[in-house]
């Protein structure tokens, strides 16, 4: 297939087939999640479940790749689904327009090979970590704030987020520019592909903490 010819030197036809049979849930399709959706669609992950409750607004335009001046006010998952279909009609894509909670998360992630965290609430991220542990699904965590980003692969039972997020939701003191979400999302997508194909090394019980203002990349064993 011409579509994937440029994947070939790193992804074999068998591996490409494996991707097409894989199911990934993306929680939040804003800054991080929008880019992850874009990249998983283009590389050919066959089944994407997109979850968000929000609508696009003007303040999203500085970074959220799916937002445009002409889709403000429309549902993020609806617009993300349209984008997936416009890029790659071979992908089966489901849009779930819901706010995630302890009550619905198990049903949402059931049957997924991997869950990608593009949420903007540390409390909800911990809810997802618990649900992924119970449902035995790896979670690829990402978060950003200003120049800083963090990424982790959380295998069921590792509970990394419980060790770093204390108490209430973190206040975002540093803002949301365009490039840190894109960077974190790229690393998350790379970890998803490695997990699905059993290639390379994934982040293991550690957080990759990136501070772009001084170009520091640090792995933290938390």
């Amino acid at each position: 297939m011409d579509r994937y010819s440029r994947n070939k030197k790193m992804i074999s036809p068998d591996e490409q087939e494996k991707l097409s049979e894989s199911k990934v849930v993306i929680l939040g399709v804003g800054g991080l999640g929008g880019y992850v959706v874009e990249m998983l669609t283009r590389i050919g992950v066959g089944n994407l479940i997109l979850v968000d409750f929000d609508k696009f607004e003007t303040t999203n335009l500085n970074r959220q790749i799916i937002s445009r001046e002409d889709n403000l006010g429309l549902s993020k998952v609806g617009e993300a689904k349209k984008r997936v279909e416009a890029i790659n009609s071979e992908i089966e894509v489901t849009a779930i327009n819901k706010r995630i909670s302890v009550n619905n998360i198990d049903a949402i992630i059931k049957g997924a090979d991997i869950v990608v965290d593009g949420l903007d609430s540390s409390g909800l991220k911990k809810t997802v970590e618990r649900s992924c542990a119970e449902n035995n699904i790896p979670m690829v965590h990402g978060a950003i704030g200003g120049w800083a980003a963090q990424v982790a692969v959380i295998m069921p039972g590792d509970f990394i987020l419980d060790k770093i997020y204390k108490g209430d939701d973190l206040e975002n003191k540093m803002g949301n520019p365009s490039f840190t979400p894109a960077l974190a999302a790229s690393i998350q997508t790379g970890e998803v592909i490695k997990l699905l194909l059993g290639k390379g090394e994934v982040l293991d019980k550690e957080i990759l903490y990136i501070d772009l203002e001084y170009n520091s990349f640090t792995k933290l064993k938390v």
């Binding site: 978060a143 800083a148 975002n172 540093m174 501070d211 001084y214 933290l220």
Partner: protein, 82 residues
Amino acid sequence: MGNIQVEIRLFAYLRELLPSESRGVKKIEVKDCLTIDNLMDEVGIIEKEIMIVMINGIRKLDYNESLKDGDRVAIFPPVGGG
């Protein structure tokens, strides 16, 4: 009791607590009984409980632990935006 020297390395918005020319890294002389908690007070870190504190690459949760000469203290504020 004498003094010891430790290296402190701050990340993201915490860098602003040190002079800008330090780029977030500073060697400081402190009393040898100084704890992690005292050090954070001295540097001006307010929300201590949310920080990820690493000493010589090992995560520390007990801030009452005393520092030793030559310790490298790195403090990371976790981020949570999406």
